[in-house]
């Protein structure tokens, strides 16, 4: 069960990263601040997704949730008060905005699920030195 959560979390983060990378390549690279933010989001998300699949420590999942949650906050800001002077409307650019939001919400939920359920997960076996 635990491995399924990890794989789901990594997959949703990878989808978010792919979407950000696609938008960066197709024009967002030219938007001041936003372009750099998209590049950082995509590269960090790819890295975390890869290492989570590889069986990295739990803090990687916290990092993934922080990146996904931060991206969601940035999305909301860009639709309301603006972010670094940049604002967009609704679900533009379609379909990437919707895909990204769904992936990031899923990522946060998959990170939170084991905590909310409070079901003690089997501890990883660590061989003492």
């Amino acid at each position: 069960m635990r491995i399924l959560f990890r794989l789901g979390l990594a997959a949703s983060l990878a989808v978010s990263a792919l979407s950000h990378a696609y938008l960066y390549i197709h024009g967002y690279q030219h938007i001041p601040m936003i372009g750099a933010a998209f590049l950082v989001q995509a590269s960090v998300s790819f890295s975390l997704a890869l290492l989570i699949v590889a069986g990295g420590p739990r803090w990687l999942e916290w990092g993934a949730a922080a990146v996904a949650g931060g991206s969601l906050v940035a999305f909301v800001l860009s639709r309301t008060v603006g972010l670094f002077g940049f604002s967009e409307r609704g679900w533009e650019p379609a379909p990437h905005a919707a895909i990204t939001v769904v992936a990031e919400v899923l990522c946060v939920l998959l990170w939170a699920a084991p905590i909310v359920v409070r079901r003690p997960l089997p501890k990883r076996l660590v061989v003492a030195p």
Partner: protein, 309 residues
Amino acid sequence: MTREPNTMSRRQLIRHTAWFGAAVGFAVVGGEVISHVAGSAAAERSNARPTLRFAQVSDSHIGFSGAPNPDVAGTFGHAIEQVNGLGYAPDFVIHTGDLTHLSTPDQFDQVKQMMTGFRTPHVFTVPGEHDSVDDAGQKYRSVFGAGTRGDGWYSFDIAGVHVIALVNTLNLKKLGHLGVDQLEFVKQDVAGLSSDTPIIVFSHIPLFAMYPDWGWGTDDATQALSYLSRFSSVTCLNGHVHQLFSKTEGNVTFYSGTTTAYPLPHPGDGPAPKPVTLPAGKLHDALGIREVSYTKGQAALALKETALQ
């Protein structure tokens, strides 16, 4: 030796450090790969055929007569021939104002007749202050105002690009002025557009403070530009200053165009912007036309300036 249950052993510390290092390393590599792909895509697009190509001419001053250019109709005719000889038909031609020198009916008639010679589907204009010398632009609008709004402003969409033509030469005291009605027009005009829509703005007087002491700026342009701040690509093209100049402020790039009539001094050279008489044979070097092309996916427009031949 005993250890607190919540403390980390050296081996655990090394392991976490290794994971952290791997996370940073993969992030850097990922960033490099994405940047490289983005660079390759941009290079590929630069070789693609432009989505939109148009030409800009400006400040023909038909009716002017003097030592700086004794034949403004002749040099404007050369400019038209040069546009027609580009090797392709531009999607449209824009004249950024001061079509005439003194706004007489004959001058408007002459410049309109001459501009029918452009081999292009559309010719767009905005008025300069010389086109509204004595009537707040009424004669200009009677000749070129069809389909415009207010005092002659308008917008249109072509090839995925939104083009806005503004009038900042009426109601001017020293600097150009847009006015409340036109500002509201800009606000409403772009309200429904996606932020990735490329925007091109034409005006006669610069929308940036090129040299306010000579009136080379627009006092309420900041308000208009604030409505465009959310767009990733905004390009403003103007005439009036009879010389090439460009400036970038955030997401907006301003390009002043040259003239087909006579040069003006560089900002601050002399007390006022009076026509400059160049040595014989040098006039055509100071006059010219501009080609502008937009390729889908590129934020910046490509400009090519050519002196009059």
